[in-house]
Amino acid sequence: MKTFALVLVLVVAATMVIGIAGLPPHGDPDGPIHTHVGARYLERGVAETGVRNLVTAVLLVYRGFDTFLEVVVIFTALVAVLALPSATRRPPPARGESTAAPRRGSDDAVPVSPVVFFVVRLLAPFIAVFALASLYRGHVTPGGGFQSAAIIGAMMIALGLVFGREHAARLVPHGAKAWLQALGPLAFAIIAFVGWRLTGAFLGFPADEAAHALREAMVVVLEVAIAVGGAVILAQLFMALDAPS
């Protein structure tokens, strides 16, 4: 078995090395990545999409299908975790102690350290501002929906750790939870159909100059949906895995 694994690894490695040897030299101006669509993105991307950060332009406009399915993958991960029996089983809620000093979850009685409590509360607003800035300026500077989602999600996880899951759960309104979890795929589907109606192509973006504002609005909707939906999914993944079993 070990020999087989070694042979397999060597064969795969050799294949990769041969493949890499066939690539054009790094930075070669005649390489395929510089002569096909890449050149067009660089030359006309800003004019065509109105998005000044070309990474965002490629991510949301030119390669929208990729990103659509990425969002679906994150959503599917959450669905898979929630489908695990131990993730959704909850112990009966203990009455009368929920209003006491902040406690970590309900599985143990170790009170949260006042130092950690204070520092997380101190830093949380800054983290939130950073996430919003990265979202708001995502079409100009590095950043955007996915980055913002990861930062907001991490903030929600940190708050959940110090305030306890009951308090943290209130960050997400109960009735809207399912909708927020599916926000990314839903927004993409809606925008895709809007694009279909406007351009005749699924997930198409209107290309003419007059539709500039509309195009930008579509991109902003996608960015916000990715950020909020992704953050809720990350926090929910944490809550589900952290649930006492």
Binding site: N53, P142, G143, F146, A154, F238, L241
Partner: protein, 81 residues
């Protein structure tokens, strides 16, 4: 200088990747994997891809490690021999 930096980072990547694969203690593997993500984040930043670097740092080194640790807490800490 830049090539030296790249070479050191890539060697670190290989070293951490091998360490993750060889670790029997899964917590050690997760911690080393966080280190791997952090080094990869530096590589992205150095190659001029700050978008990817932010995501790598937040998701790879941050959230993924937490989720892995929670999973280990729910299952077993050591790989079955």
């Amino acid at each position: 200088m830049s090539a030296v930096f790249d070479a050191v980072m890539l060697l670190l990547l290989i070293a951490t990747a091998v360490t993750v694969a060889r670790a029997r203690d899964l917590v050690a593997a997760v911690v080393t994997f966080g280190l791997y993500s952090l080094v990869l984040c530096l590589v992205w930043q150095h190659r001029g891809a700050p978008d990817v670097a932010i995501t790598e740092a937040a998701v790879g080194a941050g959230v993924t490690s937490v989720l892995f640790l929670l999973t280990i807490a729910k299952t077993a800490r050591s790989e079955r021999r």
